[in-house]
């Protein structure tokens, strides 16, 4: 097995008592001393600091110097409107394949003279190859390998980050900006993966530990591992690439219709023109056979990924993520269910250890998000 990569915060994790695990080729903290449940609840009540430096950061610079050329080129790979993305804003997107499946999901930001993408760690090499192969004529694809990425999430996040960088208090959800902190250039977005208000902060690798420690110096900030990151995102109804979405699920099956703006839909100004457009736009018109939904198991036993869902004797779905929701005080799952059985409130059965247990289709998110809009 090749040696695992380390993030710039590796030694800090060790000093903070993290339990490290291999994740997407990196050695990452899965939890710290308090454990997943307490870390999750702390983030909801105060603020959690996450090391997400394993994710891919990529700058896309238009060869022509015109940002519209970069946006137009990028639109050939995603079903998302990027020409309408305003400077200082970011948008959720996904790379699709010719079958309409999802190659990865990502954030794309408009930063004046270039675009900035943040992609999943496990997909970053293939994403960069995909962008390089398809976009090189129109733009330079420049992986950013000398910066760490931190996420500060929770109700205290604004107060804590604004104590270091006052102007972030003026940002709203999905704003991006460049800020100075002690002569260190921070690339900040008001976004995250927890359903909480918060920020994601790209910081030069050599100053990553200093920034993390400056944030952790506030007694309302605790370091949070990947374990709680997963239960937080699941309560927030957010997809995990590789589990809830992959190259066999389309954005429409995944109930990500909201991410496809009118301009890219049939009849729109720039309809289609992305891989799998025939499939995806067709599904928008005529519907899908299965759809990603929330599922609430009865009782306390979680129904985990792989659990089969039945209506009577017929299997009608499969769970793709499942865990106990610390803020819900109950188990929660996400999965794909045949549309005839996917209406909120429908009671189905999940097969757990050979026994059929009741599970009810539920709206997502399980817990309302608290983004600052």
């Amino acid at each position: 097995m090749p040696a695992l990569n380390r993030t710039p915060l590796h030694d800090l994790h060790a000093a903070l008592g993290a339990k490290m695990v291999p994740f997407a080729g990196y050695e990452m903290p899965v939890q710290y001393g308090p454990g997943v449940m307490k870390e999750h609840l702390w983030t909801r009540d105060h603020a959690g600091l996450f090391d997400v430096s394993h994710m891919g950061q990529v700058i896309l610079r238009p060869v022509s110097g015109d940002i519209a050329d970069a946006a137009r080129a990028f639109e050939t790979l995603v079903p998302v409107s990027l020409l309408s993305l305003k400077e200082g804003r970011q948008r959720y997107a996904m790379f699709t394949n010719d079958q309409g499946g999802i190659l990865d999901d990502l954030m794309v930001a408009h930063r004046g003279d270039h675009l900035f993408a943040v992609v999943n760690a496990a997909c970053k090499d293939s994403d960069i190859a995909h962008m390089t192969a398809n976009l090189s004529d129109q733009m330079q694809v420049v992986p950013v390998t000398d910066r760490g990425l931190l996420a500060l999430q929770g109700p205290d996040a604004e107060r804590v980050l604004a104590a270091l960088v006052p102007d972030v208090a003026d940002m709203r959800f999905m704003d991006v900006g460049v800020f100075d902190w002690n002569n260190v250039e921070l690339w900040v977005s008001r976004s995250g993966y927890t359903g909480e208000d918060g920020f994601e902060i790209s910081v030069p690798a050599p100053q990553s530990v200093d920034l993390a420690q400056a944030l952790l110096a506030d007694d309302k900030v605790e370091p949070i591992g990947l374990g709680a990151r997963d239960s937080l995102r699941l309560e927030a109804g957010l997809c995990l690439y590789g589990s809830d979405i992959d190259d066999t699920t389309t954005p429409i099956e995944a109930a990500l219709n909201w991410a496809i703006q009118k301009a890219r839909r049939s009849g729109g100004e720039r309809a289609g023109g992305f891989p799998g457009a025939d499939v995806i736009l067709g599904q928008l018109e005529t519907g899908v056979l299965r759809r990603r939904v929330g599922l609430r198991p009865e009782g306390r036993a979680p129904m985990r990924a792989g659990t089969k869902i039945f209506a009577g004797d017929t299997q009608v779905g499969t769970i793709t993520s499942g865990a106990f929701g610390p803020s819900l005080g109950a188990p929660m799952s996400m999965g794909y269910v045949a549309v005839d059985h996917a209406t909120t409130g429908t009671t189905l059965e999940g097969e757990v250890r050979g026994k059929r247990m009741p599970v009810t289709v539920a709206d997502l998110p399980f817990r309302p998000s608290t983004y600052k809009r």
Binding site: Q31, G35, V36, M37, G299, P302, R304, F324, P331
Partner: protein
């Protein structure tokens, strides 16, 4: 007290054996969120899966450490599974069993041997 390789502790209490999981096991499991206990009066054979523990990480089983019959289960765990993390070797016992042959206990580890195994 005796210990199994599956990280259970066994405590003889009169003519029954009380069974729970060790501090080490509870720590490895992480926060326990659900415990499924057997019915009382269930006859069990050593090695049967009789308890399911779900933690924030995964599901695990507890096996019957001895041949016998379940005579009591700790219903408090169903309502408050977090007890398993707080007091695994005390209030968070799982079940009590009446054992056919107490000599089966002799095959299990002493505390020192168990500590050595997990060291």
């Amino acid at each position: 007290m005796k210990f199994t390789e599956d990280h259970e502790w066994l405590r003889v209490d009169g003519d029954v054996v009380v069974v729970g999981i060790t501090d080490h096991a509870a720590e490895q499991l992480g926060d326990v969120v659900f415990v499924e206990l057997p019915e009382t009066e269930t006859k069990v054979t050593k090695g049967d899966d009789i308890v399911v523990i779900e933690s924030v990480k995964a599901a695990s089983d507890i096996v019957a450490p001895l041949d016998g019959e379940i005579v009591a289960v700790n219903d408090d765990l169903s309502d408050n599974p977090g007890m398993v993390n707080e007091d695994p070797t005390g209030t968070a016992w799982f079940f009590k069993m009446k054992v056919e042959d107490m000599a089966q206990l002799d095959g299990y580890m002493s505390e020192d041997e168990y500590q050595e195994m997990i060291a």
